[in-house]
Symmetry: C2
Subunit: 80 residues, 2 copies
């Protein structure tokens, strides 16, 4: 069982890393790039013995308590 966790900065939070990438791709000649924001992505392999509800609960708890900073970041969890 596999969980994917996406962590992104909340919309009001400045993202200097994203801005630096946006500036660089502009210098490199890419056109039409209005904004870039960088986030984090985690692939979590869970014990196949866990049932689906238990796996989602573990992944959600891990995303909220360990993988993201709820003050400045949002997270999204997919379990498959």
């Amino acid at each position: 069982m596999k969980a994917k966790v996406y962590v992104t900065l909340k919309s009001g939070v400045l993202d200097p890393q994203g801005k630096a990438i946006q500036h660089s791709v502009g210098l490199l000649g890419y056109e039409g790039v209005a904004d870039i924001r960088q986030g984090k992505y985690f692939e979590i392999a869970l014990d196949p013995a866990l049932d689906s509800a238990r796996a989602r609960e573990t992944a959600e708890r891990m995303a909220r308590d360990v993988l993201s900073n709820p003050v400045i970041e949002d997270y999204r969890v997919e379990v498959e």
Copy 2:
């Protein structure tokens, strides 16, 4: 128009950061976590004037040439 780029380490490549997180969640008492791998995630806002094919082409090229290191990383692009 929005593109999402997911960059992950190729499967044979060691991921010390993922291993460190896995070790930590083990110490914190999370059970059933077999493996964690960390990747990067980019949200790219593209000029709405670009048509869909052009937007995908720009995002693919950016993912391949700027956002990922093709020696050790894979990337995936979604345009919506």
